[in-house]
């Protein structure tokens, strides 16, 4: 029997894309107002703001860290403010902290916003940021690390150990872009890719082709969360958080014993499902966020859906695609959405809510009751798994 302590009651989002003309605060206004209106509450009802730390935008991070959002939006009921930075797992930790604020009574309704505008950061700064984020400045960076290079090495090892083929890996991108093509909030809406498109794109960091790497995007999202009890009074469609598991696997890729993080995902998923009182067969959608195609494979193996080395074939057969028997990553992960830094997990949780409320449009998985979502921070420093439901089992 799970005891839900938190529920999502409102969501707001701008589509991913390139918005050099929009200021970051312009996007913050939009997503926060959307989320408040979607929740059917008033702005004075918000008692706390816990923000996702934006990456590679130090001035914005400072402004948000030091309390500007409640002031800017005129949230006069706000009792406290905080920012969480765990890279791609930031939103996961915002939710954790919100749970504590709600449970302890400091804030019964919490706003969790995120914004990132990559397109106005000079390209050299962006490359340098991602070349050092989650890499060691003494033992890794001097050798020319990039995210693509690091994930290239992980992918190379995965293919070596499992026999996964280039075609199977490329088919992960095809599957993710099929979902994205159905998502009006994706920069790749109505833009699917063929296997040939992926395999003929230029090689960036072997074995990764350009289409197997991420396109950086601008975007923003926000959620309103509250207690399970209050949620059921405010809305007819609360989205309950039922379980949470996490494993730290190490900051530097060079030292990571669990190199593919398969054990980390497996243990975190088990903890999350146990806490929810569910088994993997209860899950209707697996919202895997791993940013690179091999992670979809590793997660399918870690959760116990595919035998080790069989996930690529499983995905290539279409089982995780729209209409497949096991829908995975219904916004297409970062590959399908465009990479918004720490914003991908925000988009992923918003999608969990959409699927459970039944508002996922053409991506809607019929009769969706339970969703499993993953998020990782840094260059893969941790594995976090959460379970969401439209009911409390």
């Amino acid at each position: 029997m799970s005891k839900a302590k938190l529920a999502i009651i409102g969501i707001g989002e701008v589509p991913t894309g390139r918005y050099p003309e929009r200021s970051r605060w312009d996007i913050i206004y939009e997503v926060c107002l959307q989320a408040v209106r979607n929740a059917g509450i008033e702005k004075k009802d918000i008692k706390g703001v816990i923000s996702v730390a934006p990456q590679a935008q130090p001035w914005l991070t400072s402004e948000i860290s030091f309390g500007k959002i409640p002031e800017e939006l005129g949230l006069k009921g706000c009792k406290d403010v905080c920012i969480c930075n765990a890279g791609g797992a930031s939103t996961t930790n915002c939710l954790r902290l919100a749970e504590q604020w709600i449970d302890s009574g400091i804030a019964n309704i919490v706003l969790i916003p995120h914004v990132t505008v990559h397109s106005t950061i000079p390209i050299e700064e962006v490359i340098s940021f991602f070349g050092t984020a989650g890499m060691d400045l003494q033992w890794e960076y001097p050798f020319g690390t990039t995210y693509n290079g690091m994930m290239g090495m992980v992918t190379q090892r995965y293919m070596y150990e499992t026999g996964t083929t280039a075609e199977e890996l490329a088919s992960v991108v095809v599957a993710l872009r099929k979902w994205a093509a159905l998502d009006p909030n994706s920069m790749f809406y109505k833009r699917p890719l063929s296997l040939e498109d992926v395999l003929s794109s230029k090689m960036v960091s072997t074995p990764l082709h350009a289409r197997e790497c991420n396109v950086l995007a601008d975007g923003g999202g926000a959620m309103i969360v509250t207690s399970a009890e209050l949620a059921s009074e405010i809305t007819g469609t609360p989205v309950y958080k039922l379980g949470h598991g996490a494993r730290y696997v190490g900051a530097c890729p060079v030292l990571r014993e669990d190199f593919l993080v398969r054990n980390g995902w497996s243990e975190a998923a088990k903890d999350a499902l146990d806490q929810a009182g569910l088994i993997k067969e209860d899950v209707d959608v697996f919202e895997f966020y791993g940013a690179y195609p091999l992670n979809q494979c590793v997660m399918l193996e870690a959760v116990g859906i595919c035998e080790i080395g069989r996930a690529g074939k499983f995905i290539m057969e279409g089982h995780t695609s729209p209409g497949g028997k096991l829908p995975c990553a219904t916004i297409g992960d970062a590959i399908g959405r465009g990479h918004t830094g720490s914003g991908v997990s925000m988009a992923n949780y918003i999608e969990c809510a959409r699927q459970l409320i039944g508002k996922a449009g053409e991506r809607q998985v019929p009769n969706c009751r339970f969703v499993l979502a993953t998020a990782a921070g840094g260059s893969g420093m941790n594995a976090t798994v959460t379970i969401w439901g439209r009911e409390i089992p």
């Binding site: 050299e124 490359i127 340098s128 070349g131 060691d136 400045l137 003494q138 033992w139 890794e140 960076y141 001097p142 050798f143 020319g144 690390t145 990039t146 693509n148 290079g149 690091m150 290239g152 090495m153 992980v154 992918t155 190379q156 090892r157 070596y160 230029k202 090689m203 960036v204 960091s205 072997t206 074995p207 990764l208 350009a210 790497c213 530097c252 890729p253 060079v254 030292l255 190199f259």
Partner: protein, 138 residues
């Protein structure tokens, strides 16, 4: 050599002996004199037993490629002249894994499991970076 534009290692006080030895083209591994752990990367205290009684020994310089990626695009401008280059993880005989570059060969000659040995690149007066080259068994 003063024109080297690429990032240099950000050294901590306890890793100085590693870089001092590297200048003399010797690859050193930190070790715990109490519990015997071979430590990489170097720490202030042993990550197993938190002993401060740490020492150094010289590695054979031989190892095998654990994984690699040929970087062909998407690097900072200062690395662009090196493209394509091989980013790699090498497992030393002593049980230590290091990130490095595989040099002195065509990138497509590299594969997982290959034997390699250390070769030092004198990039500035202060720093020689440990890189690896193929070391085919005779």
């Amino acid at each position: 050599m003063s024109e080297y534009k690429k990032p240099l290692p950000v050294v901590q006080p306890w890793s100085k002996p590693f870089w001092e030895a590297a200048k003399r083209h010797r690859l050193m591994i930190q070790t715990c004199n109490d519990c015997g752990l071979k430590i990489f990367y170097p720490r202030k205290y042993c990550p197993d037993c938190w002993s401060a009684n740490l020492g150094w020994f010289e590695a054979s310089g031989r190892g095998k490629v654990f994984s690699y990626s040929i970087t062909m695009a998407g690097v900072e401008e200062r690395f662009a002249e090196d493209l394509p280059f091989v980013l790699a993880l090498v497992d030393l005989e002593e049980g230590i894994r290091m990130m490095t570059n595989i040099v002195e060969c065509k990138p497509d000659e590299v594969s997982i499991g290959m034997d390699v040995k250390v070769t030092f690149r004198d990039v500035t007066d202060e720093f020689s970076l440990p890189m690896f080259k193929l070391n085919p068994k005779k």
